[in-house]
Symmetry: C2
Subunit: 210 residues, 2 copies
DNA sequence: ATACTTCTGTATCGATCGGTACGGATAATA
DNA sequence: TATTATCCGTACCGATCGATACAGAAGTAT
């Protein structure tokens, strides 16, 4: 992100590790082991740095986790924002669900989804991390709802459709796919689930159903 | 379960607490905080006993968690086995999904589902608890698959239906509902998701669709 | 009453947790 | 080259983790 030689000054000894690569490694550890399941020793080992360097560069464990979440959203989970831009509501739903199914079963990534794993692997609902993750869930659903409401206005979805219900349905299937991926379901199995879920999708646009 | 005065002998000093009530309390703590999020101090406080009594009666933390899971399956999550006995495949699916939606948002229970919360709140996939929970997931899906295969044979589902895909779909929605319940979704919202999911259900029996 | 068995409570174990103090090393600035 | 600011590595902090040793209390059996 930040250019290495952009800042002219950079007084003092420059850091010897790549902060981006280190954050990437931290993200993958959290992704695999969850928030509570990840210790600082796990992190420093995977990031290739020692503890004081971690604290100087990223703050404490919670702060590092939030940065890892942001990187996850902008990187591996970018399928979400790309899905919103699909031209049809059905395309949005399909891209959302296929996205998590493929990401969560990629052989070069940890299984499952960092958001889901992180949400359920911090203390109880009073934990600030839990609250932030719950807020993010609500925000994503709201974004989907607005997108589907637009589709109703465009005739892309039948007039009687409930955008909120459809948004929550897509989110629910996505969370379920993430849980299944985290517990060893195969990509082929999950893609069949996506197809089944899409059978529930209300026809609209050129071919209205009911 | 075990009667207090049934055994005639019971040599030595009898225990002063109700083991069933204590296990019930432990189950609820795990349900609310997850496996890693629950400490022994949390447990002893909720169970009203001290640490050596806990170890004598239930073994270590992992053993207690397994007993809590068994109690959860036989108690709050008994809707699963009841759902299997529904006369129609659609009834099975509906009862499964409504079951988790209502259980996970009950005001007198912790939010979410102990199985899902437990699975994602133990270490990584190498953890024995994680392996057992994954196996339980696979077992539940297999039971659903057999039930739906029977429904195909009975004409309750269309001949071309894929019982495995339907079973995984129902399980996926259930997991997703549990995640949503754990992050604060309301019962009304989740029941609408169930209705949306049931729109995907293939018509059969009296009213074949395609 | 005595012996024996089991439970309860305190007090503590070694290990690990997240987080830091501090000194030596390294580079840019002057 | 001297100064200054930052980073790296060791070694350690208090707190908490899961798990237990031990002694006294409370029962049954003889």
């Amino acid at each position: 992100m930040k250019a290495k030689k952009a800042s002219p000054a950079a007084l003092g000894r420059p850091r010897e590790f790549d902060a981006d690569a280190a954050l990437d490694a931290a993200m993958r550890v959290f992704w695999q082991k969850g928030y509570l399941g990840t210790s600082l020793s796990d992190l420093t080992e995977a990031m290739g740095i020692n503890r004081p360097s971690l604290y100087a560069a990223f703050g404490n464990k919670e702060s590092l986790f939030r940065k890892a979440l942001a990187r996850y959203s902008a990187g591996p989970a970018a399928y979400v924002s790309r899905a919103i831009d699909e031209p049809t509501a059905r395309g949005v739903a399909e891209r959302m669900m296929r996205g998590v199914a493929e990401l969560g079963t990629s052989s070069c990534n940890p299984a499952g989804c960092l958001w889901v794993h992180g949400t359920l692997s911090c203390g109880d609902t009073s934990d600030p991390v839990h609250k932030e993750l719950s807020a993010h869930r609500a925000s994503t659903i709201a974004t989907l709802r607005r997108r589907f409401a637009r589709a109703v206005g465009e005739g892309d979805l039948p007039a009687g459709s409930d955008p909120g219900a459809l948004a929550r349905f897509v989110a629910t299937v996505n969370f379920g796919l993430a849980v299944q991926a985290a517990t060893g379901a195969s990509r082929a199995e999950l893609l069949r689930v996506v197809d089944t879920a899409l059978d529930a999708w209300p026809a609209g646009g050129k071919a209205a159903r009911s």
